[in-house]
Symmetry: C2
Subunit: 110 residues, 2 copies
DNA sequence: ACTCCTACTGACAAAAGTGTGGGTACCGAA
DNA sequence: TTCGGTACCCACACTTTTGTCAGTAGGAGT
């Protein structure tokens, strides 16, 4: 009877990792472990600086990603998955495998 | 000529089930098996008729959903998952469980 | 003094996604 | 004759998302 804002777990999950980029960012961080901004940018081909920053801010606010600033010049900021983010990444893995498996068919769609 | 290839499986998967509704539609069809338009509409609270139609058309074009028209009056159209859609639904399950498990935390985010 | 480097920030605009309110078709029941 | 019921379609407007381009800070190297 708890008043839920989301209609099911999938709905909630999509709300936090939805959009075109968040899944890929999580995936990259899951693979590499610790990445600085520029590295992350290269790890997610096609994303603009602005988009990466916006998405990272949201992921940080959601508690999925940890941001560590090293006070240096030039600046150095490192991103990594939190426990929470890591658990989401694990849940995302089968979806990635599915996409990998059916890549050709998916590419043939548009 | 937009010859785009996806950068990884997750990218491809997100391309076909991305957006706010497709995951939920697939999920509902996975649960219920066979639903007519009006039933599906009720199964996905908050979606508008227009959105449901648009999303169903895309899912159909992607080969994830099967559409069967019964020539009757009043009209009767039934939707169901294809094998392909069913496999995606399976891959989506862990994500749904993750969301279910962390529902409270997710709801506390905005 | 000048430029390079990195991680940002902000203004603006285009594109994509979404909602609203209307309409269509058909048949049978009232 | 009018109405109810179902599954749509269309035009328009609005909102959210995404992209583009410029600019900032401050120490280090030349």
């Amino acid at each position: 009877m708890t008043k839920r804002t989301y209609i099911c777990g999938l709905d909630a999950a999509i709300a936090v990792m939805g959009g075109k980029w968040k899944g890929l960012i999580l995936f990259s961080l899951g693979e590499e472990g610790l990445l600085r901004f520029g590295e992350l940018r290269r790890a997610v081909p096609g994303i603009s600086e602005r988009m990466l920053i916006l998405q990272l801010r949201e992921l940080e606010a959601s508690g999925l990603v940890h941001r560590e600033v090293h006070h240096q010049v030039p600046p150095k900021v490192e991103y990594s998955l939190t426990e929470f983010g890591s658990s989401l990444n694990t849940a995302l893995a089968p979806l990635g495998e599915w996409g990998e498996e059916h890549m050709e068919r998916i590419e043939a769609i548009p």
